[in-house]
Structures are given as C-alpha cells and as structure tokens.
C-alpha cells in the first residue's frame, strides 16, 4: 500500500476543495476550475496552480481568472481561469484603416505570429524558425480576426502548433500529435524525449484502440492568384507496425484542403502540402488512461508506458491531459496517441 498526502497551492486561495486543470493538443487555451470557500481573486487576476503531494508540488497552470461563480447555500466558489493565450484568443485585431488593415509582406511565419501576439500584450516567446516566408510576392492584410485565430491558421498551414505553456510562454514548434523521431527532414523536427515513465503501479485503467478517423491521404492547397498544389499517396503509415501500406481502399482518397491568400509561392505551397500529408496520412492509435496524479504530466509531451497489459507499452504523445485533484484523490486522465 502506498500512502500520499495531497497538497495544492493556488494564488489567492486558501484550502482549495477541488481543482481541475485540462489541456489538449487542439485547444486554444488550457483551463483551470478551482472550487474553494474563500478567495481574494477577482476577474482578470493572474493565478498559478501548483499540484502534488506533501513531498512537493509543481506548477501545472498559470493564467487569468475569467469567471467566478458562488453557489448557495453551501457557499462554494468556483473559479474558472484560462491560460495566458486567452489574451490572444480574445484580442480582436481592428485596424484604423478598414480598407487595407495591417499590411505585411515578405515576413517569416514566426515573426508574424510574434507581432500578432504582441498586439494582444503577450511578450514571452519560444518561437522556432519555421523557414516559411509569407507574402513573398504580394502584400497581405490582417484585420477583423483574433490574434490567436490568425496565428493558429498560419501554424496549421505548415503543420506546426502554437500554444501557451504552463509558464505563460507563447510557443511555436513543429509539434505533431504523435511522438516525433527527428527523421522527417522537416524544419524543427526534433526527436522527443519522454518526460516520465508510467508503469502498472501508477495506472488505474486504460483502453486501447486505433482508427482512421483523422487519416487524410491527399492534401491540396489553394493559394493566391490561382496557385494550386497537392500531395497524395495511396499508402498510409501504421505506427502500430511501423510500416506503410494501403490502409484505405485502392483508389480511394480522403482529401483535405488548405486555402489561404498568404500562400503565393509555389515552393511554400508544395512544402505545406507535403508536411500536412506526412502528419495526416497515418492511422491514429489512441489510449485513454487514468493515472496517478503527477504534476509533470502535460499535453504536448511524450511519456513512456511500461505495462504488462497488451498493446500500451511504448512511447506515447499526451494528446490531452486533465489533472483532477480533490476528495477522490489526485489523478491524471490522459488521451495518449501515436
């Protein structure tokens, strides 16, 4: 039998009752829900959430208070907070020139994203070099869109991801929703190092499955001024076996289209097709697991699972992670992918 004493600290709150922090590869923001009896927090306050045990806690969330709800008659206060990216999500870009908006030309993707984030008051960055330049031939305008939506659209074009980490740093990386090996030849492809190993003694339940729901074996791009490029393959990658073969019926293509006036360069367009095809043309192996709470666990990282239960041993990408802390103990409910 293992005994652990739960511990948690939240800015502006003493003796929290229950804490839930959720984050996902796909989500614009991480969210925290904190239940307590007394709080000095108000809307817009910046909070840090540390979870763990009496032996030590670590930060799992930092962000802004978005909502406060008090329940009667028991007086339980529920505080909802979103991570720092919420500033970019809520910041609607409105130029004082309605005709031309904000004009950009010949700008790298990372420089444009940094500019858009700074408009929203975000100044901490970890932006990798994308080697993609936007508006090479023609200027383009940005207006009447949120900073996050536009930045995410750029990241999607090149099959990268933009997010805010738990320390409030805006991050732009070649982050695929599966463990990366550093062998794709794409810019920013770095082999993942697992952040933790989980064994059967730390796993409460797990299921295992795979599907072709997200598989796309054809990617087309509609760019500026009639620019069109595509990439396709009859064969798809099976990460379960490590082999490539015809997963979909012969001659059958599931297509996706990226359309953006930002793309006015043929090489850029073809690379974007190739990168997205490499990301989507594969089976998805998925393992929802419930594990003992560990503050080190977070979405967009890779962990190693060592289990005697069939099929789940190996390195897995944490697609989503929910820290659940309260009377039911401290658990992490994760969806792992490869």
């Amino acid at each position: 039998m293992t005994d652990k004493i739960l511990a948690a600290t939240v800015t502006g709150i003493t003796n929290p009752i229950a804490i839930n922090v959720s984050q996902s590869h796909d989500s614009a923001v991480s969210m925290a829900n904190i239940q307590c009896i007394t709080s000095t927090l108000t809307i817009g306050d910046h909070v840090n959430v540390n979870l763990g045990y009496s032996t030590g806690t670590s930060k799992v969330f930092s962000g802004y208070v978005k909502a406060i709800e008090t329940k009667t008659p028991d007086g339980v206060i529920t505080i909802t907070a979103h991570d720092d990216m919420t500033r970019a999500v809520d910041y609607f870009i409105v130029s004082n020139d309605p005709v031309n908006g904000y004009q950009f030309q010949n700008i790298t993707a990372q420089a444009l994203i940094q500019t858009l984030m700074e408009m929203a008051g975000l100044y901490s960055f970890d932006l990798d070099n994308t080697h993609f330049t936007l508006g090479v031939n023609n200027a383009f305008s940005v207006n009447l869109v949120s900073s996050y939506d536009y930045s995410r659209m750029i990241a999607d074009l090149i099959a990268w991801m933009v997010w805010c980490d738990r320390n409030g740093i805006i991050t732009l990386k070649n982050r695929k929703p599966y463990p990366m090996t550093g062998t794709s030849g794409q810019p920013g492809d770095v082999a993942d190092s697992p952040i933790a190993t989980i064994t059967d003694t730390g796993l409460f339940d797990a299921s295992y499955g795979f599907n072709e729901k997200d598989l796309r074996n054809k990617v087309a791009i509609y760019g500026a001024e009639g620019l069109y490029k595509d990439a396709s393959s009859p064969n798809s990658y099976d990460p379960g076996t490590g082999t490539t073969y015809a997963i979909l019926p012969s001659g059958y293509y599931k297509a996706m289209v990226l359309a953006s006036p930002l793309i006015d360069d043929a090489t850029f367009a073809q690379n974007a097709c190739n990168y997205n095809l490499a990301m989507y043309n594969k089976l998805t192996y998925e393992v929802p697991v419930s594990a003992e709470g560990n503050p080190i666990l977070e979405a967009r990282k890779v962990i190693t699972v060592t289990s005697t239960k069939g099929g789940i041993s190996g390195n897995w990408y944490i697609f989503s992670c929910e820290h659940s802390w309260g009377k039911g103990g401290y658990t992490c409910n994760m969806v792992l992918r490869k």
């Binding site: 039998m1 293992t2 739960l6 059967d200 003694t201 796993l203 289990s307 009377k327 103990g329």
Partner: protein
C-alpha cells in the same frame, strides 16, 4: 446525567457519540496494491440523545438551528467544544409528572431529543 447544557440550555443526556472522519481516496492501480491519497479530515460530529423539559427549552434549542452560529456543549467533564446545531428532533414522551426539573411545573412536557452537532473550531 446532571449538569449538561448546550448554549446554557439544560439537557439530560442519555447517550453521546463522537464521529471523526479522515478523507482518503482509495485508488486501485493495475498492479502493486492499493494507493491511498490523503485529502484532509472532517471535524468531529457529536450526536447527543437527551431529555429536555418544558416548551421554553425545546423552543430555545430549535431556535439554534436558525442562527448560523456555534455554542458550547458543557458536560460534567468540562467543555466538549463549540458546536453548530445541524439537526434537532424532539419526541414528546407520555409523562404524567416530571421530576427532572424540580424548578419547573411537574406537568411540564418532557421531550426525548436527538441533537446532531458539528464541531466548530
């Protein structure tokens, strides 16, 4: 049975039971035995079975369920602590002549009373 009071209201205690709980999550991993997560504890809950004589004291006890405040439970052994009254139930007994409270009329009603008290530190 003498000298028991709750907020200075005289009660004649027949039985007292203290309950104390620790909140423990019991988690079962795939291997390696049970994992216990200690969350915290609950303060004492005291249940008192007693007799109350007279409508004045009965009504005074009932009123304590509406005050959102805590009061001292005094016993022959000293203060048992400060408690909020969570629940009070009264059962009128078939009594012709009460002798518990000589200071009251022998025809005063006698109630069997159960109090559920939450310790308030």
């Amino acid at each position: 049975m003498s000298n028991w009071t709750y907020n200075s209201i005289r009660i004649f205690t027949d039985d007292l039971r203290d309950d104390k709980d620790q909140t423990i999550a019991r988690l079962g991993p795939l291997a390696g035995g049970t994992t216990l997560h200690f969350y915290g504890w609950e303060d004492r809950i005291t249940k008192v079975s007693c007799y109350v004589v007279g409508l004045t004291d009965k009504n005074a006890l009932e009123a304590l369920t509406e005050t959102a405040a805590s009061y001292v439970l005094m016993t022959p052994y000293g203060s048992w602590g400060s408690y909020s009254l969570k629940h009070a139930s009264f059962q009128l007994l078939r009594a012709i002549c009460q002798t518990l409270r000589p200071d009251l009329s022998p025809t005063s009603p006698v109630f069997k009373c159960d109090l559920e008290l939450y310790r308030d530190i």
